[in-house]
């Protein structure tokens, strides 16, 4: 949770109260934030976290002001669209000001190759940290291409006796773990 303190505890409480009308307010808040993150990841992935927080701040402010919000998610989407519009305008201005990216210095091919080798080695190590079944699952799940991809995943779900959604969730979690492990190995100085 990262509401700006300027929006005030009262505003945040008002939002939580509104979100809690149908159950656990903290969980509803986190879920709303996940949705906003996913939305902004589609359009401006580099700014998704910051933009989601802006929406939540504005939403809390409205709730604190006593604005009647019948459908919080729909209201949040309305704010998100405005925030996205503003962010796109800023991004467009930045792009105009930037130099032509195609004329940036050439990449260092040797360094690229070295990094690719390091990444492959790192992936081997990260996969070896998984148990055999998980390793097999992640490589199978992401192993196919195109139309075969869907068929394979359906077959895998059947073989595992689970639904496609459950299998997807498991594969996504494993993939996130592997990517985090790889990131830590390749950029040890960087915090997650």
């Amino acid at each position: 949770m990262s509401l700006d303190t300027a929006s005030g505890t009262g505003a945040f409480d008002a939002l939580l109260q509104r979100l809690g009308a149908d159950g656990d307010p903290a969980r509803a808040y986190e879920r709303l934030r996940e949705r906003l993150l996913a939305l902004f990841r589609v359009y401006l992935p580099a700014e998704s976290e910051a933009l989601a927080d802006v929406v939540l701040e504005r939403l809390a402010r409205r709730a604190g002001e006593g604005v009647v919000i019948e459908d919080v998610r729909a209201y949040a989407l309305g704010i998100a669209r405005l925030v996205l519009q503003e962010a796109r305008l800023r991004a467009s201005r930045r792009r105009e000001a930037e130099a032509d990216p195609t004329l940036q210095p050439d990449p260092d091919a040797g360094a690229e190759q070295e990094e690719a080798e390091r990444a492959l080695h790192g992936l081997h190590v990260c996969l070896s940290l998984l148990d055999a079944a998980s390793r097999r699952l992640i490589l199978d799940y992401y192993g196919a291409d195109g139309g075969a991809r869907i068929r394979l995943r359906q077959q895998l779900a059947q073989a595992h006796g689970s639904s496609l959604n459950a299998l997807r969730n498991r594969a996504l979690r494993l993939r996130a773990r592997i990517e985090e492990c790889l990131r830590a190995r390749l950029d040890p100085a960087r915090k997650p």
């Binding site: 992935p45 990517e179 990131r183």
Partner: protein, 266 residues
């Protein structure tokens, strides 16, 4: 609440690439706010998109959209790096195969199609286009983040440096630059073209002087790509700054693509 509708993986991919009509995108936005499963599916679609990019399976337009809309984000680039490692592991006999991984291993033809460019002097090539180009001793000098997303069509012939030039992604930003490190040697160009049914001509322009490199070039096709191939004689590659022009034979002389060409040191 809008009615929940079944959304295909391809629609999600096009949404991620910002290639959907506004109305359809708005419908997905509304559904995302209500439909829990769409969150996970979207994440899955993003991973598949990056995997396909790493395997060289995106169309030119998709690769361009990925670069424009997603790879500005460092986190996306990190995810792509991981996807590239997965792609290499998948093709690496010392890795995936030993573990019995990969129910549908790519055919030799698919592997060939996923290469960016290579010379016949290349040894067994590592996967990943820039890596491959480096291993083959080839210098490819246009915007790299485009290059390694898009497969070049075929393996060129022996003994000559080959450069793959993809359809420019930067019409609004001016031409990309191809740098050839030294004058005095012929080079081969494989140039992606928009229309496989047309004939093309390549020119080198130096100042106001335009010289033909090759004429009446008939495009070849490889998977989703059409390209022409031409050898640029050493005599045309004098040190200095030039422009390379791709012109459709019946296109009224207007270049379809233009690249800056730097031969030797700047």
């Amino acid at each position: 609440m809008p009615a929940m509708t079944e959304i295909s993986d391809d629609v999600l991919r096009q949404w991620l690439l910002q290639r959907l009509p506004d109305a359809e995108a708005a419908r997905l936005e509304a559904q995302l706010m209500q439909d829990d499963s769409l969150l996970d599916r979207l994440r899955d679609a993003e991973t598949d998109l990056l995997d396909d990019a790493a395997r060289g399976r995106l169309s030119t337009a998709e690769a361009q959209a990925l670069r424009e809309h997603r790879l500005a984000d460092p986190a996306q680039r990190e995810r792509l790096r991981a996807a590239r490692a997965f792609a290499r592991l998948r093709e690496d006999p010392s890795g995936a195969a030993d573990e019995g991984i990969g129910p549908e291993r790519p055919s030799p033809a698919a592997r060939q199609a996923s290469t960016l460019c290579e010379s016949a002097t290349a040894r067994r090539r590592p996967r990943g286009a820039l890596v491959l180009a480096a291993a083959a001793g080839i210098i490819v000098a246009i915007a790299a983040s485009v290059l390694w997303l898009v497969p070049a069509p075929v393996a060129p012939n022996a003994g000559i440096a080959t450069y793959a030039l993809l359809a420019s992604t930067s019409r609004g930003n001016g031409p990309a630059t191809l740098r050839i490190p030294a004058a005095g040697s012929a080079v081969r160009l494989q140039v992606e073209v928009a229309d496989s049914a047309r004939r093309y001509q390549l020119f080198i322009e130096t100042g106001a002087r335009r010289q033909s490199v090759a004429a009446d070039l008939q495009p070849r096709e490889s998977r989703a790509y059409a390209y022409i191939e031409a050898t640029v004689a050493a005599g045309l590659l004098t040190p200095g700054r030039h422009r390379l022009l791709l012109v459709a034979s019946n296109g009224g002389g207007e270049p379809e693509q233009v690249w800056d060409l730097q031969v030797g040191e700047r």
